[in-house]
Symmetry: C2
Subunit: 233 residues, 2 copies
């Protein structure tokens, strides 16, 4: 094996964090600003960065997510690595990375993680130039995203769908602690890319022993208040 | 971010290839010989190697598996990356790698793939010092394996179990084209680490429309010949 064919890529982690606002599935992205030929250019990227020397992959993912969003103790699940040599073909991505990290960058293999979190978790910013925000997933495909992050988000969503087939309770990670059946249906339909019939969905949920009706109703809503439910393990 | 904390690990691929001999689940391993203080030391490792500069991860996995075992056109599914800094803590592993690749090696992040293949596929050897063989999975835990390959095999098996929950037809990748119900039960039990009741298992299989009885019986067996079945997509 000729060794001029082997060099060391950098290794990074990227986090695909999904949330649900009651109507739409959202993904957490970082605003990125690049000055190119004296013009300021903005786009978005997943929370991610290069791993450190003494860091395990899982630890790197947790650290990077906390540094860029303030989120702590999030269950991040590794779902796939992306390492095509053309991941860094856009000079803008390389320029930005080299400016940010003060490192010469060639190829990067990234290990991607996915998380489902409640959207009311507080998002903070640690670094001056970093701003994390939620974006509607159905609008992401029309955005300018760094590297292959659009592809990583797509594969992350596929992974979530597969996981829900085995562990349906994961859905409740995205809902508030008390939720309406309409919110649950809206989330279920979004994740599975379908439109459930209202009555059929209510019948389906009635068969889920882990969805428990509370003795409470919604408050302060402009429509008729609906009953609240909770997820019971 | 202080940059003395960032350097480039190597990136490798490793392939966990499972086969089934009619009785036991097996995994494909490579014999490794190392001369240490003038003594020859033997152990085993997964088929794997460092990725090349211009190679995607999937392409690297296919190339390496072919080079080390002769197997071509195998469906390899990426299931997890392993990158703990202590993966290369055994000096024997570093010595072997540096001798084999003529490269200075520090940390290695490996991207692991899994495959299910029919055990009668011909295994070849391309390199003089390489010998690939099937080993019983239940004996692997007592073997000396390189790096964290024992852990990678364990996680690979877990991944297969999860995949079978969603895609039960994958099981038939491991069986010969024509198989007996007893072989199918034996494989099913091995993968799921259980012992099925013979009659209950037959009832279960009767409900699987994709298992079709053939007008053929086993031949040349010391016991009463059983009916042969095939998998129909």
């Amino acid at each position: 094996m000729p060794n001029e064919n082997i060099y060391n890529p950098h290794v990074s982690v990227d986090c695909v964090v999904f949330g649900f606002d009651g109507e739409k599935l959202k993904v957490l992205l970082i605003e990125r600003s690049i000055t190119e030929q004296n013009e300021l250019y903005n786009d978005k990227k997943l929370p991610g960065s290069i791993i450190l020397n003494d860091e395990d992959l899982d630890d790197a993912a947790s650290r990077v997510l906390t540094e860029l969003t303030g989120l702590k103790n999030i269950y991040l699940s590794q779902f796939r690595s992306f390492g095509g040599p053309d991941r860094t073909k856009n000079p803008r991505d390389i320029l930005w990375l080299e400016n940010t990290l003060q490192l010469k960058i060639g190829r990067i293999v990234t290990v991607a993680y996915v998380a489902l979190i409640k959207i009311d978790r507080k998002i903070q910013v640690k670094y001056e130039n970093t701003q994390a925000n939620w974006y509607n997933l159905d609008e992401v495909s029309a955005m300018n995203l760094a590297f292959d992050h659009a592809e990583i988000i797509k594969k992350g969503l596929e992974h979530i769908r597969h996981s829900l087939d085995i562990e349906p309770h994961l859905l409740f990670e995205l809902l508030p602690r008390k939720f309406t059946i309409s919110q649950l249906r809206s989330l279920y339909d979004t994740v599975h890319q379908m439109t459930s019939d209202v009555r059929n969905f209510q019948k389906k949920v009635a068969q889920w022993p882990y969805v428990v009706a509370l003795d409470e109703m919604e408050e302060g809503v402009p429509h008729r208040a609906a009953r609240l439910y909770k997820y019971k393990k």
